[in-house]
Point group: C2
């Protein structure tokens, strides 16, 4: 393994974080960008510009990218992406050329899962599933201590597991129906929160919706934490949908730990208790009794730290 | 590895097959039993009696069992079972004592998946998911050439993946709702086939139902193959439900091959084409384009051959 710091980049559905990650995993200078909903060229330019700023003067020797895409992992090619215009793109080659240092690329949630398993909420466990509730639902799966990526790198898309096959169409470029993502992502919580605010204009949620027209998933989570009933109901309903998905995850993977991250997960037990309850009611023994469902520990830095871990290991992780 | 033949036992939800399996995987003398819906003692006695008959004079040096249970794999303990009274049972120790030879035990569908991946329909592929549509839906998952069993051996229960979280209660001891098993198992096909026969008394399916009161999943499959419209519709609807589950399997595992076994799978493309269609419509790129969905090749012997493979390898597989 080479030595020296690297840049870890977490490029999510709506925002990017890029930072210097040292060999001891401390994060140095980091920068943040929001996508403007731009086309592919703008998204890539933003990535290059953000990495260049984070890297300036750091001596970083490589860049690890987590991107919200289904990949051909060995080739470093993004095949499809539900939330960004990154389909059929030789991402690693292109970024290597533009950045002039070795570049490694994996799915964003895979790398967040790696970070939470190595140094976060699932430290010490070998079988871990992470879901991040953001624009979509990203997921990463660690089996027997190693990231599971599917046959070529396009697997581990638990957010696109059907939980209601007569349900509404999914988001972005996903052709699915009733995917977990459309029921329990930050976007879904925002949608349900906005509806609930309109139905309950007297609630704090209702006042925010009246004032702003819409709310975000994070805002619903924050209002739930202040005790607003309307917001609490929205989080509880999302938690139950999440729980239906997690019951399947428990039956399929028998993980030791399920880590829930993303902005909406800030609601903590207001979201997780209803999910735990559904798992306890619906999943099979012994898995339902042994699994721990916990909030992410690394917050919004998880993906960036994971991307750093990945680049520090020269992409062999 | 020791040498000499072994006994492979496939104990499904409704029937048992036990046979001599030679080192080249040829199956010698085999016996079959149907469970009478008896209690634990009767089920275990039937197993012992069937193994003893299969083993007589064979010189078999070990017995491999596939049982429809969620296991503590290392301990050889059955923790829970949706379809047989095998909860909390030190199966391996008990059978070792009763049979007087080394005994190995795993989930029945795990071993069927192993057999199909090594010598059956998925030969040559390293990432394989098998579903058997029988009394329930058993599943086995081969990742990178190895059986994936979950943290302790209780995972890989894809039949108990929720595909309709507002759906009907699942079967047997499963506390879930809208599990794939309750929508697309042999039992579900039999239930829907019986209903369809009552609604269409003029059809061949209707005449069979009128005559017998109920039909089995295999019978619906057979009638569909003769071109009976009512039976074809039942198989197509089951295929679409199966497809909703398979779309999730494709997004989560990105398998190279999905193998569909069990009696109802005899309907072949009448079941699989609607499933393939849903996968093509609903799953993500590239996985939906690369996966092959194929019927099992080893027929009802898959589980027995897999149990034999497992015993031949002294349980280390």
């Amino acid at each position: 393994m080479s030595s020296g710091p690297v840049i870890g980049v977490d490029a999510g559905g709506t925002k990017l974080l890029a930072g210097v990650v040292d060999e001891d995993l401390t994060v140095g200078h980091s920068v943040r960008r929001l996508w403007s909903g731009g086309d592919r060229a703008e998204v890539l330019d933003t990535m290059v510009e953000a990495v260049s700023e984070a890297r300036a003067g750091s001596g970083a020797r490589a860049v690890g990218f987590g991107i919200p895409a289904l990949l051909d992992f060995d080739a470093g090619v993004s095949i499809s992406s539900v939330h960004l215009p990154l389909a059929d793109l030789a991402f690693r080659d292109l970024m290597t050329e533009r950045l002039g240092v070795p570049v490694y690329v994996d799915n964003d949630a895979n790398l967040a899962a790696l970070a939470e398993q190595r140094v976060g909420a699932a430290r010490g466990a070998s079988n871990v599933v992470l879901l991040t509730l953001g624009t979509g639902i990203g997921s990463g799966i660690v089996l027997d201590g190693h990231l599971f990526r599917g046959a070529s790198g396009a697997g581990a898309e638990i957010g696109h597991m059907t939980i209601d096959h007569h349900g509404p169409p999914c988001q972005g470029n996903c052709p699915g129906r009733g995917c977990l993502e459309v029921m329990a992502s930050g976007t879904a919580i925002a949608r349900e929160g906005t509806d609930a605010g309109r139905r309950h204009p007297e609630s704090a949620l209702g006042r925010l919706v009246a004032q702003r027209g819409v709310v975000t998933g994070e805002e619903v989570a924050e209002l739930a934490l202040t005790g607003d009933d309307a917001a609490c109901s929205v989080m509880a309903a999302a938690g139950r949908s999440l729980g239906a998905g997690l019951a399947s995850v428990v039956n399929i993977f028998e993980p030791e730990v399920i880590v829930i991250g993303g902005g909406a997960a800030a609601a903590g037990d207001l979201l997780l208790d209803p999910a735990r309850e559904v798992v306890a009611q619906r999943a099979l023994r012994p898995s339902r009794d042994t699994v721990r469902i916990v909030p992410a520990a690394l917050g919004e830095e998880a993906g960036m730290v994971g991307a750093g871990l990945f680049a520090l290991a020269d992409g062999r992780i």
